[in-house]
């Protein structure tokens, strides 16, 4: 059931990424002062945008989990946040490269997006340790959802606060107030965002599929071969998929005394 969606998504992502790289290398104008390395902007900013939106989406999924008590939402929330953290790291690295190329330092405090990006990373980096430290899977999902909701609400608040606190010394490439981007950059930029979003969606779908499948396999093994055929679950930060823990072992004979009431 996931297979078809994966295939379509993979092809679309591949197409979008190829288009992006083609545009970045051949179509987008070369920046006069920053040179070739400025092109990392086409990776950095889309990654940043996708990451921040993903964190908020993760919070929404977590709220749905608490509302409906359907563990599937917790899995989606977990995967979205998990992949977003990876994108976050990518964004920080590309951001540092861009900063070095543009202003000569590996880190600048004047870029509010970059700074709030770091703070958000520091918060969400605690998501998996938090999950890992709770052993009861049901409680783990619940607590993680509470965290994800708070953290999701934090993202826009944090962005606002950092932005208000940061003085603009360096010109911002995205400045729409003073003229906006030339259309070539804009097109490349839009394609890049689409590509990153597709890539993100692909990675999420892949991970959800992979997890669902391995849980289904585990449940099948338990049903066919009994409890002993599966290794006991170690501690894990990842949520279980429903159906894995239901009593699927063969019925056991009742105790010695007959039940009379």
């Amino acid at each position: 059931m996931h297979g078809k969606r994966l295939r379509v998504l993979s092809l679309a992502t591949l197409a979008a990424l190829t288009a992006t790289f083609a545009l970045v290398f051949f179509y987008a104008p070369l920046d006069a002062d920053q040179g070739f390395i400025q092109k990392i902007f086409y990776v950095h900013v889309p990654v940043a945008i996708v990451t921040l939106i993903a964190y908020v989406v993760g919070g929404v999924f977590a709220a749905l989990h608490l509302r409906t008590r359907d563990r599937a939402w917790d899995l989606r929330s977990y995967v979205v946040i998990h992949i977003a953290i990876i994108f976050n790291i990518l964004g920080l690295v590309t951001g540092a490269i861009w900063a070095k190329a543009s202003w000569g330092h590996w880190w600048v405090w004047d870029e509010p997006t970059l700074v709030s990006f770091l703070i958000v990373f520091l918060l969400f980096a605690t998501y998996q340790p938090l999950r890992f430290s709770i052993e009861d899977p049901e409680r783990q999902s619940r607590y993680a959802s509470v965290f994800a909701i708070m953290a999701g609400a934090f993202v826009p608040l944090n962005f606002m606060a950092v932005r208000a606190a940061t003085a603009y010394v360096h010109p911002r490439v995205l400045a729409t107030s003073d003229g906006g981007m030339p259309s070539q950059m804009a097109l490349t930029f839009v394609v890049a965002i689409v590509a990153m979003t597709l890539l993100f969606a692909l990675m999420c779908t892949y991970e959800i599929t992979s997890k669902s499948t391995s849980w289904q396999l585990r449940a099948l093994r338990r049903r066919l071969l009994g409890d002993e055929a599966v290794a006991p679950l170690g501690r894990s930060a990842a949520p279980a998929v429903d159906g894995a823990g239901t009593g699927s072992a063969p019925a056991r004979p009742r105790g010695t005394a007959e039940a009379t009431s």
């Binding site: 608490l66 703070i119 958000v120 520091l122 918060l123 980096a125 605690t126 340790p129 938090l130 430290s133 709770i134 052993e135 409680r139 619940r142 607590y143 959802s145 509470v146 965290f147 909701i149 708070m150 953290a151 609400a153 934090f154 608040l157 944090n158 606002m160 606060a161 950092v162 208000a164 606190a165």
Partner: protein, 241 residues
């Protein structure tokens, strides 16, 4: 939002007057802290010690303006973490939260009570901390800055109380509880710190207290509102099993 069930009619001879559950919980916590003070003395000592550390760490006799705001607020933040870590300890140790969970009360009353307790503890600590700071490190006179500073600290305390209570409840039932609290609470409090620092920096300026920037007070108030409402809404989910 869960209901409380039907309200009981007040029987005669009840304890002075019927008390709201959050009030009963708060009184219990204040009584406990007064009987066996742990959190407040520790936070106080920590604060003054940290000022000394800053003196040597920064190599300065005096701070003013942004530096003063930073030193004071960061110290208070770290002291708050100590208090946050201990917030639910009495519930956790005496057989878990069961005693409170068994009572026919809305569980959010626990959130309100703990947040109020934390607010009060922080206010107490700040009373001494600001005095100590003025004596040890602050260059300009604190008196003109005081009204503005009190307002900023009050708003900051709300932020600390709300976020602290939620994170404390989140962490207390996990395995690595005193590690989780600082790494989760501190990033989450960054916007509040930013707003508080920017608001109080002009108050502590070297050449006399400037005006209180209302923009930053508004940001701090917004933070309090958003997180206050959110925490109040989700707290229940941490307690139901």
């Amino acid at each position: 939002m869960k209901e409380n069930g039907t309200r009981l009619r007040w029987p005669r001879g009840h304890l002075r007057h019927p008390m709201r559950p959050s009030m009963a919980l708060l009184r219990k916590d204040l009584l406990l802290e007064r009987r066996a003070p742990e959190a407040v003395p520790a936070m106080l000592l920590f604060t003054v010690t940290t000022f000394v550390l800053f003196h040597f760490g920064l190599g300065r006799d005096e701070v003013a303006g942004r530096l003063a705001a930073g030193v004071l607020l960061v110290t208070l933040l770290f002291a708050a973490i100590l208090g946050i870590n201990r917030l639910f300890v009495s519930e956790q140790e005496e057989g878990g939260f069961d005693g409170v969970l068994l009572a026919p009360i809305d569980r959010t009353a626990l959130f309100v009570a703990k947040a109020c307790a934390l607010f009060l503890f922080l206010a107490l600590v700040e009373l001494v901390a600001v005095a100590a700071f003025s004596i040890l490190l602050l260059g300009p006179s604190p008196w003109p800055a005081l009204p503005g500073l009190i307002l900023v600290l009050a708003l900051l305390n709300v932020a600390l109380a709300v976020v602290g209570t939620l994170v404390s409840a989140l962490a207390i039932r996990t395995r690595a509880r005193d590690l989780i609290v600082p790494i989760v609470a501190l990033p989450m409090l960054v916007p509040a710190l930013i707003a508080a620092a920017r608001a109080s920096a002009p108050l502590l300026a070297a050449d006399g207290a400037g005006a209180l920037p209302t923009k930053w007070l508004a940001v701090l108030a917004l933070y309090d509102l958003v997180f206050g409402l959110l925490a109040y809404a989700v707290f229940d989910f941490l307690l139901e099993d």
